[in-house]
Symmetry: C2
Subunit: 344 residues, 2 copies
DNA sequence: CCTCCTCTTGGAACCGGTTTCAGACCGGAT
DNA sequence: ATCCGGTCTGAAACCGGTTCCAAGAGGAGG
């Protein structure tokens, strides 16, 4: 068996020449079109086998104006939950003829490059943007290109999206703590997004509402924001726990930040939940193992549903522009408990 | 501002027409080539802005025979460690002009499609195959296409690779248990790979060697294999812990499986490490939090190094075909302890 | 004033496929 | 024998870029 010389690939013309037919016929055979005489088809198939030919997908894409690929853009460094969402996407896409490509948009730079690659619509037939609010300019471009796009865990006025009611979630978590008797409740909040256009979509708001309804005064010193990185949250938590009037409970706007809080408490010898209650948000896989009380949002389901909507859009059907809200659920485990009596 | 009509994109010819120049000149401006009169350049840039033009990357790829994209193929459902490796890859690629695209190859079907997309070499300029042993046929095709490719956590005789010495790792873990006085040591092993061509690369082998050296007889009932999924491991562990002569220690070939074992123990009310020692393999992020004793392999580093080698290959330099072995390290935390005296 | 050289520029070929369109071929009916 | 319809087939246009190459413009030097 003679291997092909390195780097040289057979082209459709080579196959045609070898089979003694035109390129159009080879193309017809490749794509399973009717109206090719069996004898001819066999000659072509033979030539394909002999030359170890495989069509160039790039050339194919250019010609067809279609890639059969769906792009998913997500920041998966700070966001372990994003990975879980992608699993849902994969699930939602299985059975469809589309393939998924994942692109990391952790840094500003990578985000720009990702959009440059995808927003014209010739790299992928559809886009899923996960856990990121895309810049207006890009949304404009995506829509101008007629590129179907669904936001998963994000919102934009001119793109369909899958999201959760963060205000309700924030309130749910805070109310749980209040019901346990806590009054000194700190918040390690969402990172402040650079282009926040929708302030109502915020767990911090839910926290504030719950406190207000319970008649608890908001203490600015208890409200902190930072990135989702665990060690950042740990630092913030350490500061909160060093306050003269130490909080008896912490609501972290993500499980990752809750873990950072737990680590800070452990380092300071503060017992959970006896001396400190901690509640997270997301219910990532680890949470159940560690026993973290949290507000569960359907991560996997959000991806699955996003994929579903995208497939619908790709098939030409209209998709509602309003955000589709997925249900939240309080999951009580072992990191929250009654407020310590000394603090009541 | 008049938005472009949906789905219609300006082409380079439109820009050329609008600027009153030839397409070649537009291309020169786009690619920053010298020898374009400033006045002409400005006219072209103006036209580009007016038409909101962006070149088609697909057409560009076809013409240049180059994509500036690196593909990473990995099974990331069963393998949380693979995600960490990809982070290393992203890190290793940062600063390079290449973009990364991640493709899931969890199922047989997706693996086939992934290779179909990539093995011709026109989708990506280079390939990183993570935690998978690629089929011979595909390796042949990849090499025939002259497509640079590095294996991360995998081996193949005709591809460069980054790996760890699994036999040594298996022995390291088992020896640790033996040194703690354990004699009844069970194994929840690597999933049996379908096309195993290199039996020496196996944590099970290290386990067997360590037992042999300590003069401990191998008990077939203690040696189990299964997929890496947590719940599968939990089931297997439950069976092991129900044996008449219950093992006092379990070596799980991955942290995920170790977690499954811990869950099974907890469900049965077996205290860790007093009644049962558990050691894992990988040291994924969660391990440190949970306090799992494990054999750390440099996950992030493996990706970073793989990217590094791939970049070297892409720059035309030769890359050694021998597997590059990364160091392993025993990390003792709180899930292993002395063998219970009743069992000695 | 003519020649030569350099700087710009556009036409056209090319990357590797798909598809339109027109023509060749064939059997059957008139 | 002629006409007709359907089946098969290949040349050529097209997708949207890059680049080779030839040619025009303009300045320097003889």
């Amino acid at each position: 068996m003679e291997p092909l010389s390195t780097g040289t690939q057979a082209r459709i013309a080579d196959v045609a020449a070898r089979a003694g037919v035109g390129v159009a016929t080879v193309s017809r055979v490749l794509n399973g079109h009717a109206n090719v005489r069996p004898a001819t088809r066999d000659r072509v198939l033979d030539a394909i086998r002999t030359l170890n030919y495989r069509p160039s997908s790039v050339a194919r894409n250019l010609s067809l104006q279609r890639t059969m690929v769906i792009g998913a853009l997500l920041p998966w460094f700070t966001n372990p939950s994003a990975v879980q969402r992608v699993r849902g996407i994969v699930d939602g896409l299985s059975g469809s003829p589309y393939d998924l490509m994942v692109f990391d948009i952790e840094s500003e730079d990578r985000q720009r490059r990702a959009f440059e690659l995808f927003d014209r619509g010739d790299r992928a037939d559809g886009l899923l943007i996960v856990s990121t609010n895309p810049p207006d300019l890009e949304v404009e471009r995506i829509n101008a290109a007629g590129l179907p796009c669904i936001l998963v865990d994000g919102v934009h006025s001119s793109l369909p999206s899958i999201a959760v009611d963060d205000v309700a979630g924030g309130e749910m978590a805070t109310r749980h703590l209040i019901e346990l008797g806590h009054r000194r409740i700190a918040l390690i909040g969402d990172p402040p997004p650079e282009f926040r256009f929708d302030w109502s979509r915020d767990r911090t708001r839910g926290y504030e509402q719950a406190l207000a309804r319970a008649g608890i005064e908001l203490r600015p010193a208890y409200v902190r924001e930072g990135t989702r990185l665990l060690h950042v949250a740990r630092g913030i938590a350490a500061e909160l726990l060093a306050l003269p009037e130490r909080p008896t409970a912490v609501f972290a706007a993500s499980d990752t930040q809750a873990f950072g809080t737990l680590e800070a408490a452990r380092a300071l010898g503060i017992r959970v939940p006896e001396e400190l209650s901690v509640i997270g948000f997301d219910d990532i896989e680890v949470a159940s193992y560690v026993g973290l009380t949290t507000v569960r949002q359907p991560l996997f389901e959000s991806g699955r549903r996003g994929a579903e909507l995208l497939l619908r859009a790709l098939s030409g059907r209209q998709v509602d522009l309003r955000a589709e809200l997925l249900p939240l659920e309080l999951v009580v485990r072992s990191t929250t408990g009654p407020a310590p009596s000394s603090a009541v």
